[in-house]
């Protein structure tokens, strides 16, 4: 078997802490011919806007882009579920030749008539960028006739990376917010918006409950369990609390500029980061010491409730090695901390879209010898998982078979999972999942392990 080699052009995206001394390259387009784990601009936009459950999400393009994304995400809604439908203009050859504007217009009128959505998002995919449909003009026309906001999302796959998709989604969100906003600019006391929280498995509900118990009013969530009308008072919040910084920081910046709302970046993953998030929000409202008191009580209560079980699992997990490969680097930070909490060491960490600062921080956080990867491919992931003899892989659907083929445990940590992993409650779910897979007896039968003994 020939050893797996790293392509020359990718060498600055693979870093070994302790022996390498360069800046990890990032924001690079994926190399031609590589099997990147990344998705596209459209995917980024869809992730962010998907949870808005009473909006119509129409994918303008040939069928694939819509077909492959039908109901794949675990973002829950407490009411309408229009977001779970996969709508496509399903462009055919004649549309490609003569343009898809007419079809788009007709599709929009028809769908709005049937489903009565509160707004519509039109995702422009690769082909639309090539055939040059004026999506914005069609949206405008439909909007004028139907009276609901119809927003173009410029998410042509080849025009950048997933990050650009986040940006396109942020533009659409800001647009929506600005046009549906209430007259009054006045701040609502003790209020926040939650940004970058998508209610996977009900996570938004967990987080909102914490804030409620702290005495904080959540005006809107972007976009978990989202409704179009929820954004009406977003501009009146005192603070924007941004999670998963990769995706919605841009919107937070726009809101800061337009409405003077400051923002902080948080993560709700793991005990440390969740507590830190809540404390950070509490200290923002420092003129109300009672909030900090309530927060401290909440954290104490919640941590107390889960510690015994965590402790128990830790005995089994101590010393086990984990590999982490996720979309955004921010999630990786939290995962490293949470895994340490379980007594595990992280031997490989990487992300699809980390920034320069992210990687600098990752380098700081990791133990010597840890491999850090930007935009990795299956071969690289496998190479280092084997080299480091990891017990656990944390990633998404595309990484799962790599882990399983090589005989190590796996935990799903992206938008397609169905279990909430946020907050204190989520930490227990996470630990259980890790524990279940790492301690499974099946690994004893797997050839790689069995033969090593």
């Amino acid at each position: 078997m020939k050893p797996i080699s790293i392509l020359e052009e990718r060498k600055t995206q693979v870093f070994r802490k302790g022996s390498d001394e360069f800046d990890i390259s990032c924001d690079k387009k994926s190399l031609a011919g590589s099997v990147s784990q990344r998705a596209c601009v459209f995917c980024g936009s869809r992730v962010v806007l998907y949870p808005i459950a009473d909006a119509l999400h129409l994918v303008h393009g040939p069928i694939g882009c819509a077909s492959y994304t039908w109901d794949i995400r675990g973002a829950l809604s407490s009411g309408p579920e229009l977001h779970r439908m996969s709508f496509s203009t399903d462009l055919s050859e004649t549309d490609i030749i003569y343009g898809g504007e007419k079809k788009l217009e007709k599709a929009l009128f028809e769908l709005i008539d049937i489903y009565r959505p509160k707004a519509a998002f039109v995702y422009a995919t690769c082909i639309v960028g090539i055939i040059g449909d004026d999506v914005a003009a069609v949206c405008k026309k439909v909007e004028a006739k139907t009276g609901i906001p119809v927003l173009p999302v410029h998410s042509e796959g080849f025009k950048g990376t997933k990050k650009d998709g986040y940006k396109a989604a942020c533009d659409a969100l800001f647009n929506l917010m600005d046009r549906t906003r209430e007259e009054s600019p006045e701040k609502i006391p003790l209020s926040i918006n939650i940004l970058g929280e998508f209610n996977i498995g009900g996570e938004t509900w967990i987080i909102k409950d914490y804030y409620k118990r702290m005495g904080i009013e959540v005006l809107s969530v972007m976009t978990g369990d989202g409704r179009v009308k929820n954004f009406g008072s977003s501009h009146r919040a005192c603070l924007n609390v941004v999670q998963c910084s990769g995706s919605l920081t841009y919107l937070a910046q726009k809101m800061e500029a337009a409405y003077g709302i400051p923002f902080i970046r948080v993560s709700y993953f793991g005990i440390e980061d969740t507590s830190q998030a809540l404390y950070d929000v509490a200290s923002f409202f420092s003129d109300r010491p009672d909030i900090m008191e309530k927060t401290a009580a909440l954290v104490q209560e919640e941590v107390k409730a889960i510690l015994p079980e965590l402790q128990e699992m830790k005995t089994d997990l101590s010393g086990k090695r984990a590999a982490v490969y996720v979309g955004g680097a921010f999630k990786a930070f939290s995962l490293i901390k949470a895994l340490k909490h379980l007594g595990m060491t992280v031997v490989l960490v990487g992300s699809q879209t980390g920034s320069k600062e992210d990687y600098a921080l990752l380098k700081d956080m990791c133990d010597p010898g840890t491999i850090i990867l930007d935009d990795a491919n299956p071969l690289e992931l496998a190479k280092y998982v084997l080299e480091k003899d990891a017990h656990l892989f944390i990633g998404g659907v595309k990484e799962r078979p790599i882990a399983y083929k090589l005989g190590l445990g796996f935990c799903d940590h992206n938008h397609e999972r169905k279990i909430p992993l946020a907050g204190f409650e989520g930490m227990i779910n996470f630990a259980r999942e890790v524990h279940e897979t790492v301690t499974s007896p099946v690994w004893d039968l797997v050839p790689r392990k069995a033969w090593n003994r």
Partner: protein, 458 residues
């Protein structure tokens, strides 16, 4: 009765796009790796989709278009992609499938490849044109099979003797277990089989000791090169046969044209009658009798039909998926007395109605509603008016079955919500037996679940 209104938008599509089918084919060839010429997202999404069914690594490379590529053409990217892929995977074949993007900007892939010149020990470069705006994943699948066969069997005089005892078999998009069953049948017959594609080992292998860039298994390329010498070709799929009749080129028709290899076309062998046809064709081609083992399987199957006849007779089913699957499945259901009241596909070959007319008995045809180019939302609307007892097809029909409160029997591709989707056996007497048992048991379970009494007896 009008069961379906037409809509402009597609809502919950019952089809995938063309390159997906092509990518799957290349995973069924030894040492081959698919490369999509277009944007990165397409290949990532298709990988995700295939991985969720096979639960195995399914690598699909991309030439990763950028904005400049889209403007100035993808030639440079494609070349670079081939070089990089060669360095990392050392493939024997690279299957280059175009996407909507590269097709629309008008990249001339054959010319680009030509421009790369020939190189010793470089992979075979096979190009297949798969714009998704015309056709579905099935078209991509068949086109890729044809492209590979054409590439490996260039026109010209044959230098070697014909291997009359060898049979080429183009099974279409069957499950891993189906492919394994076909191989078993030929082994039992003692006849050499060249099966294309064969992803049954690559996409369902054992756990590894070390990483395999390209999994083991697949049809060996040297075998594909010998297809031009075989005694006969078999192509499964009634729809595919219709295409051949219309003059469209398929792998089998190309071999017939170039090397005068007889082509036998028939439906996918689901059900007793279809499997009988399959075995008698084999008998004819190979001049070997059907092995005793299969006669016994047939006997047991018919006996089981008898035992279960009352539980299925006059039951009403919704059948959906790719067209050839629908045609074969409907034929099997009709054979046991189930009326396939709705036969629907997202495909649009134009042959579905005709195929079902041929397959289904005259007396039930009035009750069967056939729709091509249908999506799941229309299907649900249509099915709602037909009071079906159950639905049968891939797991994308789960939403429909849930909304209509009818059980779903999972079969075909993709199976995303269960394990073992690739291990479902649909064909032959043995596969039919498994389908039959599953259907009867599903109906029995449903009767039990919805009963106020809940007998533990049948």
């Amino acid at each position: 009765m009008n069961t379906a209104k037409s809509y402009t938008a597609t809502r919950n599509a019952c089809k995938m796009c063309t390159p997906l089918g092509a990518a799957l084919v290349f995973h069924g060839i030894e040492g081959a790796i698919p490369l999509l010429h277009g944007s990165q997202g397409c290949s990532t999404y298709m990988r995700r989709y295939l991985i969720s069914h096979f639960k195995e690594p399914v690598d699909i490379a991309s030439s990763n278009f950028s904005e400049e590529t889209a403007i100035f053409g993808g030639g440079a990217n494609l070349k670079l992609a081939i070089e990089n892929l060669t360095r990392q995977y050392s493939p024997e074949m690279i299957g280059i499938a175009t996407t909507c993007l590269s097709e629309t900007i008008g990249d001339d892939v054959p010319m680009i490849l030509e421009g790369m010149g020939r190189m010793e020990d470089r992979a075979e470069l096979v190009h297949v044109s798969t714009p998704s705006y015309s056709g579905t994943h099935m078209d991509g699948f068949h086109h890729a099979v044809r492209a590979v066969v054409e590439h490996c069997n260039p026109e010209g005089p044959r230098t070697r003797h014909r291997a009359r005892k060898t049979v080429n078999l183009f099974p279409g998009m069957l499950s891993n277990e189906d492919l394994r069953h076909l191989k078993e049948i030929f082994e039992d017959l003692g006849v050499r089989l060249i099966l294309l594609p064969d992803y049954s080992e690559r996409l369902e292998g054992p756990s590894w000791v070390e990483y395999h860039a390209i999994q083991k298994g697949g049809t060996p390329i040297k075998d594909i090169r010998e297809m031009g010498l075989s005694g006969a070709s078999i192509e499964l799929g009634t729809i595919l046969a219709g295409m051949v009749e219309k003059g469209e080129k398929t792998a089998g028709s190309v071999l017939k044209e170039r090397f005068d290899i007889p082509l036998v076309s028939m439906g996918i062998p689901m059900g007793v009658k279809a499997t009988d046809r399959f075995f008698s064709a084999l008998e004819e081609i190979t001049a070997k009798p059907v092995p005793e083992k299969y006669k016994r399987q047939r006997g047991r199957l018919i006996d089981a039909y008898v035992d279960g006849n009352k539980y299925v007779s006059k039951k009403r089913a919704v059948v959906y998926g790719e067209e050839d699957f629908v045609a074969a499945m409907a034929g099997f259901l009709a054979e046991i007395g189930i009326i396939p009241v709705l036969c629907a596909s997202g495909g649009r070959s134009g042959f579905l109605k005709q195929a079902l007319n041929q397959i289904l008995p005259q007396n039930i045809q009035g009750q069967v509603h056939v729709h091509h180019g249908m999506d799941f939302t229309q299907m649900e609307e249509a099915a709602g008016k037909l009071s079906p007892d159950f639905a049968i097809g891939n797991s994308k029909g789960y939403t429909l079955s849930r909304n209509l409160k009818i059980p779903l029997v999972r079969a075909g591709f993709p199976i995303h919500d269960r394990v073992g989707g690739a291990r479902i056996l649909h064909i032959g007497y043995k596969g039919t037996q498994q389908l039959f048992d599953t259907i009867v048991n599903t109906l029995l379970q449903n009767r039990q679940d919805t009963s106020a009494v809940g007998y533990a007896y049948m």
